[in-house]
């Protein structure tokens, strides 16, 4: 008997949400019943979420994919010889998709940060090494802090959490602070609706994030790191905790990082259901054990951050880009992208879309190519009417603007923002006045309450949109909304209040008819 067939089944939460656990169980049971030896490897997700549960079988020619597999399909898959590599009958099965790496959706991507996600066992440090992991950290231990920071600066990496601030400049500020204790904090709060890249990476390749944070620690001389994970992500939290324990045990991090005599201790912390804790200063407050109330800046967290000490705060995807930059060089990273947006962006395509998932591409692809070529249009089959880019604080764009490239500056030029790279598709049934009202309601509910324009403005905004919908003094209320939007934009302490007007104003600008519907229709829902 030859070695057992290796069968890969994701344990990514999205895959589990459509039954991957039952599929894995069914495969094990069916193999036992038939006396066939299989090794079931649990991985992250390849990101082709509409095909989940996606099951792969290893063969000499690479992996072969089947999906979406339901538990009830497992019998017929085995019947077709699916556990036997290269079985012609299995390759003719209705669920056979082809060789995974050659699937159009994957082969057109540039996967740097997501190279291993869905491929290897996320909690096997040996697999991580075999697939090129730890090269960046091994490079970094041979460099000075200033050299590491310079590599990150030269790569052009900008923060992936939303604001797009140059990562190298932030690290330089922390490096230059002459204080003993410093911290590295990873922002894994991923509160933006429509985004899930951080989650997929934490579940699918947690060692990459650990490696990126450890490099940051070396760069600035920080010996302690925290990763703050939202409580809505129990799977990701477990994966990170386990990975940290494994990496510490193996001496990759801990008291004697890679036997260098230098320390980097890492701890995962759970959020508690507050969107504002994604804002970096509120996050630091929360880590310190307080309410997640935004701090006034200055002082910058880079100078007075966690427990008042110099602190790097970066998004998961920012840290995840760093190992490649160190191992392959800043130029190799900067080679991707356009203008001042360098490298790749893991785009998250969701909402009413036929083929949603994770698409990592160099900056510059158009929204249309993502929604139409990758996404295949709406799930409902109806026309696309609006697309929200960049989370709940991002703009709603009409069909006519879908040729805009994914690039920080190009989106800013049309009063939109890239944020964390989420794209949410709506069909022609969307009511944009209701979406505008939701933006205010969300802000009212999630505001930290520190400043008036946000705390009071969001409530006033919601009431005003409601009056517009109800046809009460429409012109007056629309004018009031214009003023309110301006006030919130200009006078809010942080981007929660400051950017809530972005979805509202874009809805009013691009979809004015939705704010002037006959009242009967609006009230009759």
């Amino acid at each position: 008997m030859s070695a057992p067939s290796r069968i890969f089944v994701p344990r990514d939460a999205a895959a589990l949400s459509v039954g991957a656990e039952s599929v894995a169980t069914a495969i094990g049971r069916e193999a036992d019943k038939r006396g066939i030896a299989v090794e079931i490897v649990r991985t992250g997700s390849r990101g082709m979420l509409w095909l989940e549960p996606l099951v792969e079988v290893e063969s000499a020619r690479g992996r072969f994919a089947f999906g979406p597999v339901r538990p009830g399909d497992v019998g017929s898959l085995f019947e077709a010889g699916f556990a036997v590599p290269d079985s012609p009958a299995a390759r003719a099965h209705p669920l056979a998709l082809g060789e995974t790496e050659k699937l159009d959706w994957l082969s057109r991507q540039q996967r740097l940060s997501f190279a291993r996600v869905g491929v290897s066992d996320p909690l096997s440090l040996a697999d991580y090494r075999k697939a090129g992991g730890l090269k960046g950290l091994e490079r970094a231990v041979a460099l000075s802090g200033a050299e590491i920071v310079e590599a990150v600066r030269a790569s052009g990496l900008r923060g992936r959490g939303g604001a797009g601030f140059p990562t190298g400049i932030k690290w330089k500020t922390v490096l230059d602070a002459k204080v003993g204790q410093k911290y590295v904090v990873c922002n894994a709060d991923e509160g933006d609706s429509g985004t899930f890249a951080d989650r997929m990476l934490m579940e699918g390749d947690p060692f990459l994030i650990i490696e990126g944070m450890a490099i940051a620690g070396l760069a600035v001389g920080a010996t302690k790191g925290f990763i703050y994970i939202r409580s809505e992500y129990p799977h990701a939290f477990r994966a990170m905790e386990e990975a940290i324990a494994i990496a510490t045990e193996a001496g990759v991090i801990g008291a004697d990082m890679l036997s260098t005599g230098r320390a980097f201790h890492l701890e995962a912390r759970l959020g508690a259901g507050a969107y504002i804790c994604g804002e970096e200063t509120a996050l630091l407050e929360s880590l310190e054990g307080r309410r997640g109330v935004v701090r006034a800046k200055p002082p910058l967290p880079a100078l007075q951050g966690l427990f008042g000490k110099p602190t790097i705060v970066n998004n998961v995807l920012s840290f995840a880009a760093v190992p490649f930059i160190l191992s392959e060089g800043a130029e190799a990273y900067a080679h991707y992208g356009m203008g001042r947006s360098r490298g790749t962006l893991p785009v998250q395509l969701g909402g009413n879309v036929k083929r949603g998932g994770l698409i990592e591409l160099a900056f510059g692809a158009s929204l249309r190519s993502l929604i139409e070529d990758f996404g295949g249009g709406t799930l409902s089959g109806r026309p696309v009417r609006a697309v929200q880019v960049g989370g709940p604080l991002g703009a709603y764009l009409p069909e006519s603007q879908l040729d805009t490239p994914l690039d920080y500056e190009a989106l800013a030029a049309i009063d939109a923002m890239l944020g964390h790279g989420g794209i949410v598709v709506f069909d022609d049934r969307v009511d944009m006045a209701r979406q505008a009202k939701f933006a205010f309601d969300f802000c009212a509910k999630e505001s930290c309450g520190k400043c008036t324009p946000c705390r009071i403005g969001a409530v006033r905004g919601s009431e005003s949109v409601q009056r517009v919908i109800a046809g009460i003094e429409r012109e007056k209320n629309l004018a009031l909304l214009d003023d309110l939007n301006r006030l919130m934009t200009d006078a809010s302490l942080c981007a929660m209040g400051g950017l809530t007007p972005m979805p509202v104003m874009s809805a009013m600008k691009h979809f004015p008819e939705d704010f002037r519907r006959p009242v009967m229709a609006a009230a009759a829902e």
């Binding site: 939460a13 999205a14 589990l16 949400s17 459509v18 039954g19 656990e21 039952s22 599929v23 979420l49 509409w50 339901r70 538990p71 991923e190 509160g191 933006d192 609706s193 429509g194 985004t195 899930f196 989650r199 409580s231 809505e232 992500y233 129990p234 799977h235 990701a236 912390r269 759970l270 959020g271 508690a272 259901g273 507050a274 969107y275 929360s286 880590l287 310190e288 054990g289 307080r290 309410r291 997640g292 427990f307 998250q348 969701g350 909402g351 009413n352 879309v353 949603g356 998932g357 799930l379 929200q388 709940p392 989420g422 949410v424 598709v425 709506f426 069909d427 969307v430 969300f442 999630e446």
Partner: protein, 165 residues
């Protein structure tokens, strides 16, 4: 997930003692208490304040600021349903309205059996929405039938796999 046990002062004290030396220990302790007992009894506030050398007002402030922490034991299953934009684009609001109309339930209000459909904003499953998180398990493509089964107590993993509906 392990099911909660009855509140017990001695065990609460042991949990506090186990975590109180950590940096910024407040949230880890509250999470540990809630994981064990299903809620955080307000009577623990002075104990926690003393252990962490903080004021009672500060602990109270933390307990009430975060949506996750609850100060009464849940009476039944909590279904956290995403009502954010990607799930809206897939019709979660109409689905929920229809469900509530047919069952007499309201979002964020316990039913007669103590089951709550709790509003949350994004569960990171935006390509397979509408999404729900039940007993630590993520469920995708939630429709009225699946929601009904979840409210009735079906295994979330079975619902995810398309069984039991």
């Amino acid at each position: 997930m392990e099911s909660p046990v009855r509140w017990n002062d001695a065990e609460a004290q042991a949990i506090i003692d186990r975590h109180k030396g950590r940096d910024g220990a407040t949230l880890p302790i509250l999470h540990a208490l809630q994981a064990r007992f299903g809620f955080v009894d307000r009577a623990v506030i002075p104990v926690l304040a003393e252990a962490l050398n903080l004021s009672k007002a500060e602990i109270h402030g933390v307990l009430t600021f975060y949506h996750d922490f609850r100060d009464t034991p849940p009476q039944g299953r909590v279904i956290r349903l995403c009502r954010a934009e990607a799930c809206q684009s897939l019709g979660v609001e109409a689905m929920l309205a229809e469900f509530c109309a047919s069952t007499g339930m309201s979002p964020d209000q316990p039913s007669a059996e103590g089951v709550v459909i709790e509003t949350v904003y994004c569960l990171g499953n935006c390509a397979l929405g509408p999404a729900a998180l039940v007993e630590g398990e993520l469920v995708g493509r939630v429709d009225c039938a699946r929601l009904e089964a979840l409210v009735a107590g079906a295994e979330p993993a079975a619902i995810a796999a398309g069984e039991a509906v």
